[in-house]
Structures are given as structure tokens and as C-alpha cells.
Symmetry: C2
Subunit: 260 residues, 2 copies
């Protein structure tokens, strides 16, 4: 599988290191990267053996099978439909873009017309397999997410006892905490949608890491999942699991026998 | 998507009811069923609008896109390679068959040669998305499963306090509890393999339902998931989530935008 990446940040670097240096994906390589800065392109060309592009069409015509967007919400708005129109599968990391219902529906329709697929990595959370299963036949009743973070990183000050910073629907959480809330978006898309998924964000003086707890109920029974996320070694602001989940999405495309 | 089912039991019935009667999968229908008993075939033909077959080749040539094995381990041994050779994607429910490493490797190779995919539904458990992500780049350290069941259903007698019926590797659990342990097989395949996945089975007088707890650790951090499984309305011996996960696997094949 020949992969193209849009973006020049820490996720792009992680993918290049994993795939092109450590060879974690069988028979796969990152061939092309679309990024703004020519000096980074030049450095990556020699370090990772990729071709760097500043022009989208040249990037899309460079012999790649699949594109990973690892840039920004703006990049999704700007490039996603064009990627699909060129019949490339697409992995979208900046899932915040899909809050825009018009974009979501346009991308879905473009995939249908071009016979392509968009994959959203599960990010810093999990148990989405259970939620997808429960939802598949209308058997999902409730989904709630509780995110706990160290106070300083969340609200910029210390607190003595835990402080509920937000409690409400995922829709509200997404608009009030746009930087923190990719998990709420993916969770909403996996199940009941953002109006029916509830979110609680807690500044917790006991928390040394970001933790997410998801509870779901339905005719299947009950699920509860707790995740304690360690940061990426190369970028303390990103959960390592979120980066690994991108690799997981790509790996699934290459598996002949897979689970889910 | 035109679906063919191998099997005439409760999962087959559930899929027919969900897909052909309740129309839970967009633009999809079960077209053909391979089953042993002609009288069931006849009844299902009129009830669900399917075509019943006793002959595998006639079934495979009936215009179906994908096959769901919902029968037995023996049926996987007998039919799976032939399904793949006809270039049909395959969903395998009787995952116990894949304990046979030779069969597993043969199926994988057959998929590679024919450009097809085998999917294993996540069954009565979840969080396999996290395990797959952690494993994708060698970042998974430990995976353990604790299954609790009501004593009577597990060991045929009541106990006063909880009794650990088994503790060891998934490999041992699979050979000692073949009927109970599909979850251990799927969990092993998702991550560290059956020699490195640990399993504990507990007869719990407090348990009114089957519950599964999975813990995983690695460079990503830590995951803990608890599942309380309600039974299928139509078959108290099967977890409803296991049935729903089959529908989920099929639904993913029809989604243009999906998570995972």
C-alpha cells in the first residue's frame, strides 16, 4: 500500500518513523507528503525517502493508494472532497471538521459516487466496537463520556478538589472545548449522535494523565471502559493511543483476516 | 449488498429477522441460505424471501457478494476455503476453527491470492479497537480477560463464594472450555496471541449475567473494560452483543464513513 500524508506535524512524523523507518506495516510505505514548508519537505525527502509536494494535484497523482489527513480541520474542508474525487481512500484525523453536517453529507455522497471509503481512527478512546454493535440495530440506549484531566492543562490553574468544568451534550462540549474534544466527536459519530451523547469534563487534582471513561447501556447489557492515556513520547500534548489508532486504521486496510 | 448465510440456527434467524424483516442494513438483503434441513429452507423461503440451498456451489453461485458462516467450527473447516476461492468475502462466527494454525494460515493465503477479506465479529466483548491500536506498532504489553458466570450455567452446581474455575493462558482455556471461550480466541487474535493472553474464569454466586473484564497495558497507558452481557431475546445461551456484533461487521461493509 502506498500512502500519502497531508500534514507536517507530530502525527505525520510519527507515521513516517513507524512505517518508513520501523516498517510496522507489512508491504506498505509512505510515498508522498503534502506540506506547506519546502524546507521540511527537503529534510523529509532525505530522512524518510518520501517525495514532498506543495501542490495537491501533483501529490494526488504521485501513485498513492490512500491519503491520511494529519493536518487541521481547515485542511479537511479544503482537500477532502478533492481526495475522494480522485478515488483515493481517506483517513481523517481532524475529525472536528465532521461536526459540519453539510461537509459530512457531501463527503459521504462523494464516497458513494467514487466507490471510496473514509475512515476515522478511534483516537484516544475505545470500546467503539461495542457502541457500533449496539447501535447497528437500534439497541443502544445511552452513551456518556467522562474526561478527567490535570487542572493546570485543562483550566490553567490548580484546584484543591475536583471541579466539574463542563456537563452537557457532546454538541455543547464540542462548541465550548474545541481543542479538547475530538473524543466526543468520534464517540458521537460511533453511536447516538452529538445531541444524545452526554459529556462531563472534570479538572481532577488527583489526575496525572488524561483519562476517559465511557459508559453505554442498551438491550445488549452494559459497557464501561476506562482509559488512562500516556502521552506520545515525541509530543506530550497528544495521547499516544490517538497516534497508534491512525496506524491501526492503516493496518486494517492491509489485513486479510481482521476483527470488527 | 447481497448476503449469503451458512447455518440454520439462532444467529441465522436473528440476521434474517434484522436484515430482511426489520431492514436494519441499508441497501442490503439476505438472498441465500445454505442449510442442512430442506423443511427449514422451505419455511424460510416463504417467511424471509430467501433461497435455500443444500449444495455449496449452487449457494455460492446464487449472486451473493458476501458469506456469513453462522454454523459450526466444522463448517468453517469444510467451507471457508471454498468460499474464498469463489472470491466472496467471509464473516466467520465460529472463530474456534481459527485455533488451527494451519487453517488460519491457509485462509490468510487464500484471501491474499483472491483479493478477499475475512472478518471476525468482536463477539460478546469489546475494546478490541484499543488492543488492535496498541498492538499495531508493538506497543502492547499485557492483556488479561476475567469472565464471570453464574455457577449453575458454568459448572452445573451452586457455590457459596466465588470459585476460580480456571486461570492460565488463553491457549489452555480454549482447550479446556471449548464451548465457553470464543471471547478468548477473538481477544488473542486481536492482540498478543493465545500464549500471552491470560484468562481467568470465575463461578460467581453474585453474577446474574455473564460478565467479561479485559485489562490491557502498554506504552499507550492502560485500558480496563467491563461488559455485562444480556442474553439474546430468542436464545438465552447466546449474548445479545455477540449477535449484534455480526450485524455490526456487515454494516461496516456498507458504510462510506466508518470508525476504526
Amino acid at each position: 500500500m502506498k500512502i500519502g500524508i497531508i500534514g507536517g506535524g507530530s502525527i505525520a512524523t510519527f507515521l513516517l518513523q513507524s512505517i518508513n523507518v520501523e516498517r510496522t506495516l507489512p508491504n506498505s510505505t509512505v510515498k508522498s507528503v503534502l506540506l506547506r514548508r519546502p524546507e521540511v519537505a527537503e529534510e523529509w525527502e532525505s530522512r524518510y525517502g518520501i517525495d514532498g509536494y506543495q501542490d495537491l494535484n501533483a501529490f494526488l497523482d504521485s501513485g498513492i493508494d490512500i491519503v491520511v489527513e494529519a493536518a487541521t480541520v481547515q485542511a479537511v474542508h479544503e482537500y477532502a472532497e478533492k481526495v475522494i474525487a480522485k478515488r483515493k481512500d481517506l483517513v481523517i484525523i481532524s475529525v472536528g471538521a465532521l461536526v459540519d453536517q453539510t461537509l459530512y453529507q457531501n463527503l459521504r455522497e462523494a464516497c458513494r459516487q467514487n466507490g471510496t471509503r473514509i475512515t476515522l481512527p478511534s483516537g484516544a478512546i475505545g470500546g467503539l466496537d461495542v457502541i457500533h454493535s449496539a447501535y447497528a440495530s437500534g439497541q443502544l440506549e445511552s452513551v456518556s463520556l467522562t474526561t478527567r484531566k490535570p487542572p493546570l492543562s485543562l483550566i490553567g490553574r490548580e484546584v484543591e478538589t475536583e471541579e466539574v468544568v463542563f456537563e452537557g451534550t457532546a454538541t455543547e462540549a464540542i462548541s465550548k472545548f474545541p481543542k479538547n474534544i475530538n473524543v466526543a466527536i468520534v464517540l458521537s459519530l460511533a453511536g447516538l449522535g452529538s445531541d444524545k451523547t452526554t459529556v462531563k469534563i472534570v479538572a481532577d487534582p488527583q489526575a496525572t494523565k488524561n483519562t476517559h471513561c465511557i459508559e453505554a447501556t442498551g438491550a445488549f447489557g452494559r459497557m464501561s471502559i476506562q482509559l488512562e492515556n500516556d502521552p506520545m513520547p515525541s509530543n506530550p500534548k497528544t495521547s499516544y493511543l490517538a497516534a497508534l489508532s491512525v496506524l491501526s486504521s492503516l493496518k486494517k486496510k492491509t489485513e486479510y483476516i481482521s476483527i470488527g
